[in-house]
Amino acid sequence: MNHLDIAVIGGGLLGSAFAYGLSTDGGRVGLIDEGDHAIRTARGNFGLVWVQGKGLGMPDYARWSLRSAYAWTPFSEELQAQTGTLVEYHRPGGFYVSIDDTEFADNVARLKQLRDEAGDEGYDYEVVERAALCEQLPGIGPDVPGATYCPHDGHANPLKLLRALQEAFRLNGGTYTPSSRVTTIRPVNGGGFEILCEGGREFGCEKLVIAAGHGSAELGKSLGMEIPIFPVQGQVVVTERAQMTMTYPTNYVRQTDDGNYLLGPSARDVGFNDETETTTLRDITRRCTTAFPHLRRLRIQRTWAALRIMTPDGFPVYLQSEAYPEAFSFSCHSGVTLAAVHATDVSRWVLDGHIPSQYRCFHPERFDVPA
């Protein structure tokens, strides 16, 4: 039995961010992960660190995203300094490009509504008509009516981020244990938990963080935590490397530091199916080439399908077990944007032993409100 102060279950973007944040405090932190062939949502991330458009119906979420966007700068700098791995975070602002008039009108209306809801605490944005777009987004397609720009938006390399988080975690003395799917969590009389894994490994810990992606629901149940999550499939098309021409990330397309373009997004309700599908991929390329026709001549290097961890309203689900307050669970689909606050704020909540009341808005009890 391995003894830990804090066990984090799940080695994806959330779990790794928590493990890293917790490991800066000096205790024995263990990150328990599945193997190479599990669902691994973290591998299918687009990489936006995004604020605009978020929080319709919950201004707190918009604020949370904005807070994270600004925490990203020191967060990424510390990670890079410690590990030498560049996470390629840039915040030049981002464009939500619309490919037809309806989308444009809807988007502008949405942002206005968000601003009205948030009042003084709303974030900056501007509506950019087509003519002005051509300079910042060279090659923008002739059918694009316009876009909205938000200076708080940016992007990063999610795979490098995952690697850096795990490297820093280890450097801080954390232990990473892969190929250890958790089968049972047993609360111990007097406090703490026993964690049993497939293959026989066992861990004992004082505190527990469940960040196991789709696996969280089942694990949380045994500790009385109801975690309403379900899969929403997203596919991504990745092109070969090309000359750097796109410095701003957009909702449809972004160009990585290596020169590849990522094309998205998509959403399908297909359960735990993580296979790509031709028409979806094709429709992604159609929308993205309407936005940026010059992408047409690039080779598709690879495609991805990954399963977002979605909640009923799309906002995070953060909670602490009532019966076992040393157990926490955190789930969301914005693992990249929120990585900074996960590593800093949320890790602090776990160390302090409670989630501050101002973040009660993320508790799943909000779904119990009768219609």
Binding site: E240, R241, A242, L298
Partner: protein
Amino acid sequence: MYRRRDPISDSIIIWFCDRRIEAAADDSVAAALLAASISCFGRTAVSGAPRAPFCMIGNCFDCLVEIDGETNLQACLVTVREGMRIRPHPGNGFGDDGEKGEA
């Protein structure tokens, strides 16, 4: 690197960058270029290292070229045509002479 066993009986002209090359009408692009002693078909995306065909059966992708404006073609799988204009694959930004070129 390679020479022809027999003289070309049905020759055509193709171009690799500015170089005029005599090829056999049923050569693959890769064979025609190798027979003309071209030892650099393109450069890698990461470091700009020179590459030439390695496997000749469509598995290594070191022979990717641009032909008559169409990109991402494997030279070992495409048959030459009269007047064909071949260039190193531009995707990675390393130009004909190994310098990072403008788009």
